[in-house]
């Protein structure tokens, strides 16, 4: 995975992306017990000049130039399928702007904070996300006040209340 992160950092150095953060399952497993996953979600920001109708084109061109195969929306970078996603709404944009700078496998990288991951899971609302969110409540170390502040700002508090009611039976 070190090689994969190194290549993703190369996209930053080349200016193809302006910032990025690990999101999705792999980011979640940084804070809770791991379970199975097969891909690495990377949320990226692309500079305004690069924004076109197909904003991820440069990443795919870079992949092609480097001999990395693509499978549907994934690029297989050093054996790991990586899905690059644009920050698709205001919550994800804010999560990206507030990502933590950490070291993994001796590589400098960025990862969503737990409170944002939890808010995104609440917003997405898939069954998997609900299950993972329940695990965050039990296992993760997070700032509850910060989480509540985020979900209130993004109109997710009612969704949270409903989930808690279900959880507490």
């Amino acid at each position: 995975m070190q090689k994969t992160l190194k290549r993703i950092n190369e996209l930053l150095e080349l200016g193809i992306i302006t910032n990025y953060a690990i999101a999705g399952g792999m980011a979640q497993f940084y804070y809770i017990e791991p379970s199975i996953t097969y891909d690495l979600d990377i949320v990226v920001h692309i500079s305004d000049e690069e924004k076109t109708l197909t904003p991820l084109t440069k990443i795919y061109k870079w992949a092609e130039k480097n001999g990395y195969l693509t499978e549907k929306e994934h690029i297989i970078i050093e054996s790991i399928p990586v899905q690059f996603l644009l920050a698709y709404n205001e919550l994800v944009k804010e999560a990206l702007n507030n990502a933590d700078n950490i070291k993994l496998f001796d590589e400098n990288t960025f990862i969503f904070k737990p409170e944002y991951l939890m808010a995104i899971m609440l917003q997405t609302g898939r069954l998997t996300d609900k299950e993972r969110l329940a695990r965050f409540f039990i296992e993760a170390e997070y700032d509850k006040n910060k989480f509540l502040e985020i979900i209130k700002r993004f109109n997710l508090f009612e969704v949270y209340k409903k989930l808690i009611e279900v959880k507490n039976g």
């Binding site: 995975m1 940084y30 791991p34 993760a140």
Partner: protein, 63 residues
Amino acid sequence: MDKNYQSHIAESKDEYHKNRVKMSFEDKVKVIVELQKIEAEFIKNNKTRSTSNKYRRIWEIQF
């Protein structure tokens, strides 16, 4: 079944899972790869399981 025995099992499982949360990210990735291997074995032996996602394969990474 003895209720004490059941609560003992639940407590011991909780403890086990708590410890796994504390693992380093590097060790968590090792667990993920092991889980991928286990699932591949299950899929191989259980024809009813879906194998539709092509990208669902074991990561060939060095630790």
